[in-house]
Amino acid sequence: MNEGASIVVRFAGDSGDGVQLLGSQFAASTSESGNDFATFPDFPAEIRAPVGTTFGVSAFQINLGSRRIVTAGDQPDVLIAFNPAALKVSLPLLPAGALILINISAFTKRNFQKAGMVPDFISSGALDGFQVIQLEMSTLTAAAVADSGLGRSDALRSKNFWALGVVLWMFSHPKSGVESWIEAKFSSNDAVRQANLAALNAGHAFAETAELPAALPRFDLPPAPYPPGEYRTVTGAQAMSLGLAAAAQLAQRRMIFCSYPITPASPILHYLSRVPKLGVTTFQAEDEIAAICAAIGASYGGALGVTSSSGPGIALKTEAMGLAITTELPLLIINSQRGGPSTGLPTKTEQSDLYQAIYGRNADAPIPVIAVANPGDSFHSAIEAVRVAVRHMTPVILLTDGYLNNAAWPWEIPSIAHIEPILTSTEIPIAGEDSVSHLAYRRDADTLARPWITPGMDGLMYRVGGLEKDFETGDISYDPDNHQVMTELRAEKIQSIQRLIADQVPEIGAPGESLAVVGWGSTYGAIWRAVTVARMEGHSVAHIQLRWLNPLPSNLGELLASYGHVLVPELNMGQLATLLRDKLNLDPIQLNKVSGQPLKIAEVLDRIRTLSSAKTAA
């Protein structure tokens, strides 16, 4: 089977160069031409930096192809660098032979200096082995938009569209989509609209006609074999927000989203706040503790309380999680993981909060944990998490990360009408009884959940709190046997969720192959691709992606035991590996990376190959 090709393109420039906009428009044109793609916006570290410095570089990477695309690509085949700093920062990422387009107009002495580079960098040999094309982007843009009436510095801001024109030509993408986007976006500003259109067209025309020392290559990527359906581009933060809103509607409850801003979790807060049509009330609390507490208060009041943060903020919430556990209130805790410990690397990606999610509380305090695999999956995971929270009356932790929140992927628009409605614990008929008991502690025999009785309900007044409660009455109890019963109940309640969870099936491959590569979270793409390639190379290897981390699917132990080896790649020091040892008594081979960078396909593939050959050799 010829599976089709893919090209990785990286745009890099100063924060003010409009690189993110350029990237997202190129992603849009990519979608129109039927290619699959995945993007990776690589923002500068949290602070705005002086113009021209290396730490002010903003980049956008996209992998597009005529096959299924699941990562933004290990290495850029094409780099578009808008200034020296961007070139310097991106160069180590490139494979030999990569194509580099540089905006030579910006490669001035001053800019080299700002980036800490020698002024003759281009001729210094540093670019040997690459295919370099120098374009006077700024100059040509200025010329193209001369008629717009904009001043020079404003005019120059159109150069991202000039570059886009060039790139569209290289990939034979239609210009029309971008054009109508510009028309709509800048409808109220004639000069800017015309400048951007002119720049786009000029870049395109230039590419078509230019006489260049090295000819501008063209890439021919036929459409990818998408399943039929209706698609859009979605980031993880958007999909998460949509999933939350959908879940609230499916459960017919108000949702109160309580958060304190923190990188990289804030995009969810921002999106929900910006789109009131989603009907989710957002509350920016004074700190993370207040955020989770307000969410608990909201759930106590009968709404769906959600709180969202990243590692350091989640740490602050752990005491309150205990309260939600013991009072048995539904609650969603979203963790957009980032590099740590402590403030760490706020804008970088890591999967190192699994320990915290599973084990990170005082006392025996189990919480269900779900991990998001890719941007669009955030939607479904959010719904699943809410479903479990209100069905079992429990807090649920949802793990995502900065990469997923910001990356954009094509997404088949789900049909909400086809999603099962979400039953809350009061609606789930309590076994053996016709209606909700007047006791807030009469449990459902199946889910072990207590009913969601909320203030305002007539005649059902009850008191609840953080002290241990009597199993029958809910009154404070210091009774030893009761504490044993309640501790076991809390454990069983979470374990019983296994009955809801679908049996684990491999993403790729079958049970019983030589090797299973087991992943969770955003390493999904790299593992999927590596396993796909390895299988094409003839290796017997399966990909298993865990959405459910607590409880684990009930068949997982058996499934994993069927493989010769189990490899667990993670962006941490081995946290899922711990979990598998603890829960399944299975000792996997680890592949750990903690560099703040996404996992690479090649890193997984190499290990698969090594393991296969070791086995062959043995």
């Binding site: 859009r232 509607q249 017919q252 009330t281 208060g297 309260l323 909320t454």
Partner: protein
């Protein structure tokens, strides 16, 4: 409509577990009585507390009740109020719960003017954990953690509230049921955050710290009950008053009887005046009476009614979500022919 309820209807069947003689008993009885009088609906009333002796309060009120975690009651109550602004939400906290670990949440609940009635039981000690000094303990307080006497400057709960931007600040005394009940009623009527400091005696760990002005015998001379629009008079015969010294910007006691009756210079209480509030809050013995009642009140929109906060979704339809989901560039992949 409920049948008319009595104080008893607001009591639960739980054994009350405070020490004998604790001021909390009186406050509890006062609340049960006041709610009955006010015709409160138990099912629409919620008591949210933190941790501390005082925070056991909800267990004894036959309403909804949430005994949460230490210091976080204002935050939890804020979420509750957002989820259902129609509820009457009372927050019960202590000087440790509300001003030590919970200072930040109290600050922001007051600042935002969330529609909560916040009662701070100030016994100037950590009762539940056996008597350590608290942020309101007077300088030199001997306690298990400060056997040599505390060296901290104490916080004034009401000055703190004023600095936090609170718009309703009142004070009462545990055992003065009549007055305290009237303060509860005012708090209950207020739509924003109503902050009430209650001087509460802890006979076990900090007995009689307020006795100099709570003692009923001397109350008339050591307390001043402020009422908006009325002159600031006190004393058994209303024979003393407070006037403002315009130079020192402080209050002074003046004689309001006999030949040199200075009644004319006595300040009329204006509960909307912040400077006056500050001065009243700062009064203390032996030279001044302690100010009780509603010291400060100005109107302001309650947070939970804010436009952008309160937009209940149309519960019966997913149309909004579907629309937002589709409100971007879409593309179709046709089924293969």
């Amino acid at each position: 409509m409920n049948a008319v309820l009595t104080a008893k209807d607001f009591a639960t069947d739980q054994e009350v577990r405070w020490c004998p003689g604790c001021g909390d008993y009186a406050i509890l009885r006062c609340m049960q009585k006041t709610l009955a009088e006010a015709g409160a609906q138990p099912e629409n009333t919620v008591f949210v507390s933190g941790i501390g002796c005082s925070s056991r309060f909800p267990y004894y009120m036959n309403t909804y009740g949430f005994h949460t975690i230490h210091g976080r009651a204002p935050a939890i109550a804020t979420g509750l109020k957002l989820s259902n602004p129609d509820l009457d939400v009372w927050v019960i906290t202590g000087d440790g719960d509300g001003l030590s670990i919970g200072g930040n949440h109290l600050l922001h609940a007051l600042r935002r003017n969330v529609g909560l009635k916040i009662l701070l039981f100030n016994n100037e000690i950590y009762g539940l954990t056996k008597g350590q000094y608290s942020p309101t303990s007077t300088h030199g307080t001997r306690s298990p953690s400060t056997p040599g006497g505390s060296i901290d400057q104490p916080l004034s709960p009401c000055q703190f509230a004023l600095g936090a931007g609170a718009r309703f600040i009142a004070r009462g005394i545990d055992t003065d049921n009549k007055h305290l009940g009237s303060v509860f009623l005012e708090a209950n009527r207020y739509t924003g955050a109503a902050f009430v400091e209650i001087y509460q005696n802890c006979p076990v760990y900090n007995d009689a710290v307020f006795a100099s002005f709570t003692d009923r015998q001397k109350a008339a001379e050591t307390q001043i009950h402020v009422r908006h629009g009325e002159p600031l008079l006190f004393g058994k015969e209303a024979d003393k008053g407070l006037r403002v010294n315009p130079d020192s910007l402080t209050l002074e006691v003046v004689n309001c009887s006999g030949p040199d009756d200075a009644r004319g210079s006595v300040k009329i209480h204006d509960e909307t005046n912040m400077a006056l509030a500050q001065m009243l809050i700062g009064l203390h013995g032996p030279d001044f009476p302690v100010a009780l009642g509603v010291i400060y009140r100005t109107d302001g929109p309650a947070f939970e009614h804010g436009q952008t906060i309160h937009h209940p979704p149309p519960l019966d339809s997913t149309a909004g979500v579907v629309q937002v989901m589709r409100d971007v560039r879409l593309w179709k992949v046709p089924p293969p022919d």
